[in-house]
Amino acid sequence: MARRRFWSLRPASLQDAVQAVWANLLLHGFPARMLTTSLAWLPTFWLGTVSWVLFVVLLLSGLPLMVFYIPSVGDAYHSVEDIEYVVSFGWWLRAMHRLAAHLMVTSTTLHLVRVFVTGSYKNSGAGDQHREWNWVIGVAMIAATVLLSFTGYLLPWDQRAYWAVTVATGIVSSTPIAGAIVREVLIGGRAIGQATLMRFYVLHIVVLPIAVATLFGYHMWRVRKDGGLASGDGAEGEAGLVHAIPRVVGRIAVVTLATLLVVTVLAVLIPSPLEGPANTLVTPNPAKGPWYFLWLQEIVADTTLGLGPLRINGGLIGGLILPLALGVVLAGWPWIDRSPLTSAGVAFARERRVQIAVFMFVVVAVAALTVVGLLRGPSWAFFWPWQAWPLVPTRF
């Protein structure tokens, strides 16, 4: 017999499969055997794996971008222009990075929706499970993903970047008492400038990626500790078990290729926008945040309230209190959900239909507000897609 490697991607026996998990760094996170149902395309759509692949794409495309990008107020815009028009395939790196970021916000959000409607944050009562904490980690990862995307949004130092940061830090400073000092720490002064760019840059390339990577490791570890997918809870015996290697490795390869295909095709089709260099005096009209904040943009515009002589800025109510409250309720939902254990891991379980209806109502409301935000034209007016925008002066 020819000399065999000590582990194999095509194990002949259970012992071989275990050996592969035991001996290989990349495979050691997998179980030796998995339920076939856990490998199915539905109901997970493999959205967690898709998000992970996108994160890797972001790391790999971000590295060369870091080489060309200059985090200085004077040079940032021109270095991004160079990446777009001068560096060989720079436009490609930038498009991959930008689209993977947008898609990661989308895929992590859809992953959250999937986990909610299938009740997968619930423990089935078997063994020592703490799925509720993995849900909390997941919510934290979405927050970190959105912050990653938003801090990256500032880096080109163009008009849309500058004014998005103006509005975001305006929301922070609408907080009574602490607002002004928190804003000063965040932007490194009283006006948005070099200190702001540097702070956001360090958040974007060091702090937040490490946070996501750490939380991701914790997330996967918990999935293993909790016994895999919630839909597989309660399965007993040998029936339905397959060797994780090569079956799960093969599926992950397919998901990776499909995700790469989508990002690549989109990167060819969708050019990355770059508006004029940041003009600290003139706000573009219309001025819109990134799409995942448009629903909040609608809310901050409608939540300025009067309490007698006191007027409370909509930035505080719609920009801070409401999203924070939503986040806390979302993260704490496993403790609010009192449905029976039998609904764990079941899609659209009857026992949970009221809470699923409430959740889907919020999801649809957020989506509807996002569409309204997308359709807004100059001077906050609403335009249907077939209505032309009026011409507005862009210079004064």
């Binding site: 305006g170 720490v185 490194g188 005096l281 009209n285 001025a287 515009a301 300025t304 800025n313 906050w380």
Partner: protein
């Protein structure tokens, strides 16, 4: 030994944990403090914005200071162009104000309103908020005349009452 009495070992462990915690907290505080700038590289708040005669009657946007300079004869005021909602720059928009007795708009007067592109706040030309999420009127800043060359000086760090006017001789 009484079991309710902490023994020496557990007291020392607690002291150690407390000391370590205090040290970590102090380090975290130091790092946070370093993020609060001690020197401001912000632009100065007092800006010369030109001689009074440079400005026509009505509203003129002064980009260096991000203010509207309002002039009525010899009286001037500086109105902030920073929206009180979340800090975008408002711009002037011409609006036709119809006369109630004049459906054909023959007597309609053209006035200016200030409009914010970010969330649709609107203000009268005097800075009073009309509609949208703006919680209060636009700020007005102190205007003075520079003693050396007679230019107007706006102080963006000195907010004044809406009734403030600079009268030039």
């Amino acid at each position: 030994m009484d079991s309710a009495q902490p023994d020496r070992r557990s007291v020392i462990v607690k002291l150690g944990v407390a000391a370590g915690g205090a040290a970590l907290a102090a380090q975290a505080g130091i790092v946070l403090r370093s993020f609060v700038p001690n020197v401001s590289y912000d632009a100065p708040t007092r800006l010369k914005i030109g001689l009074p005669e440079r400005y026509a009657d009505g509203l003129t946007f002064q980009p260096d200071a991000r203010v509207f300079v309002a002039r009525a004869g010899k009286r001037f005021r500086a109105l902030s162009a920073v929206c009180t909602h979340l800090g975008c720059t408002v711009h002037a928009e011409a609006v036709l104000r119809p006369d109630a007795n004049d459906p054909d708009l023959r007597l309609a007067t053209q006035i200016f309103e200030l409009s914010c592109p970010c969330h649709g706040s609107r203000y009268h030309a005097d800075g009073t908020n009309i509609s949208g999420p703006a919680p209060r009127p636009l700020a007005a800043y102190r205007l003075t005349l520079a003693p050396d060359d007679g230019q107007m000086v706006v102080d963006l760090g000195d907010e004044v009452e809406a009734s403030f006017r600079l009268e030039v001789p």
